[in-house]
Symmetry: C2
Subunit: 231 residues, 2 copies
DNA sequence: CCTACCGATCGGTAGG
DNA sequence: CCTACCGATCGGTAGG
């Protein structure tokens, strides 16, 4: 069982840019480079916000880790807040795209297989490569102002809405026994919490996790439509 | 179904102290009062750490909200860190005591009833009255130093260990389908995440939550021992 | 994107 | 527990 994360938009890889010799270009005055440095700022900010928290991370930390001077992040972002918001927005956009691709690939499969896909992709977004953005969004949204929070909430609603038809179908078939609304909140909570304890160096793989979650929530494979019940 | 939270140690109520007229005693020089103010500091610190986060809360915020001057918290706690640690330790001690009482009261009940008790008490600890301490512990442990983290980990292990026999029994009877270790992590995650979305002013009550969680994890009432299977 | 820099705030302390 | 205070740090900016 491999994760259905095939042709997905790589969120933060370096875009095609003319390769320059390693080391900073120093004072070659006016050489924009642009998206490249911005993306680098986002990636290091995401990593630092995740490991230290937003309030405990200074813009100087971010600048240094990106190889800039202390004032330079403000050339790319209006404020520290704006940087945080950009990290979250970027993360949600990428996560949404990945889940939409997952569901598209599984459109003809039974609901249980679709749920498996959603769970696998969710774990991949939280715990796989380049997975700092969504954890930051999950654990630092307190630091957003209300306008930013509102804008993000729209993306989050879209994300959660992807789960509803799948869960409803499983509820209707009896495989999912809790009310759909609370089930969605509890299931996403169980998955989101893995950020706190998952250790890639330890036993369980992402697929082990997905299997355990599926078994916990809907049993070993409920008879959805055309399956024969044993005994 | 009421929560089994009967005779439990109230963590932070004012201990028996001579009642004095309202308003600050002003400069009545040398009048210790002691445990009272310390407990007040802990409670306001817990509330502020929860709502704003540790790093974003200043010791001045805490002092003001407790009715002290900016330097006074340091009379009771050596540092801001020590205050955070005390909040978490207090929270874990109270939570542990409550869960132990719950399990004692349900010792003769089947595992499913015991799990229901654990879930109900856990929700009460997270979302009920005076419930700022454990959320702070769950979401701010990043800010502890490693010595503090180690000491807290011992309490957390004790807490998690309470769940294992219950989950093992349910796993053995087939009611719980995921491996016990991962099931414990996923279940506690589902519960802990409720801190992020639970709103006491909305529809679902704590008992609704507990029922939904039980239904999600172990179904409507698995045949534990002396139950007749249908059909 | 760098160089300098500012104003404000913060954790913590001495001394009572 | 208050008064007065210090040293350090931080987000952000002007000007190039």
């Amino acid at each position: 069982m491999s994760a259905p994360a095939a042709a997905l938009p790589e969120p933060l890889t370096t875009p095609t840019a003319p390769v320059r010799p390693r080391g900073r270009p120093r004072k070659t005055l006016l050489e924009r480079d642009d998206g490249n440095r911005r993306a680098a700022l986002l990636a290091t900010a995401a990593a630092l916000f995740r490991s230290q928290g937003f309030a405990a991370t200074t813009t100087r930390d971010i600048a240094t880790a990106t190889g800039m001077q202390s004032g330079s992040p403000f050339y790319h972002f209006k404020s520290k807040d704006a940087l945080l918001f950009a990290v979250m927005q970027e993360g949600m956009r990428a996560a949404l795209a990945r889940q939409q691709a997952t569901l598209q690939a599984l459109a003809l499969q039974p609901p249980l297989a679709q749920l498996r896909g959603l769970v696998q992709t969710h774990f991949a977004v939280l715990l796989g490569p380049d997975s700092d953005f969504i954890p930051v969004m999950l654990y630092e949204s307190r630091s957003l102002n209300s306008a930013q929070r509102t804008e993000l909430a729209a993306l989050q609603s879209q994300y959660e809405a992807l789960w509803v038809p799948v869960l409803s179908a499983l509820h209707a078939s009896g495989a999912l026994r809790a009310p759909v609304g609370l089930a969605r909140l509890l299931i996403l909570g169980a998955l989101n919490w893995s950020v706190q304890w998952f250790d890639p160096h330890k036993a369980a793989s992402l697929d082990d996790l997905s299997d355990a979650a599926l078994a916990l929530f809907v049993g070993p494979g409920a008879p959805a439509s055309s399956a024969s019940s044993s005994t």
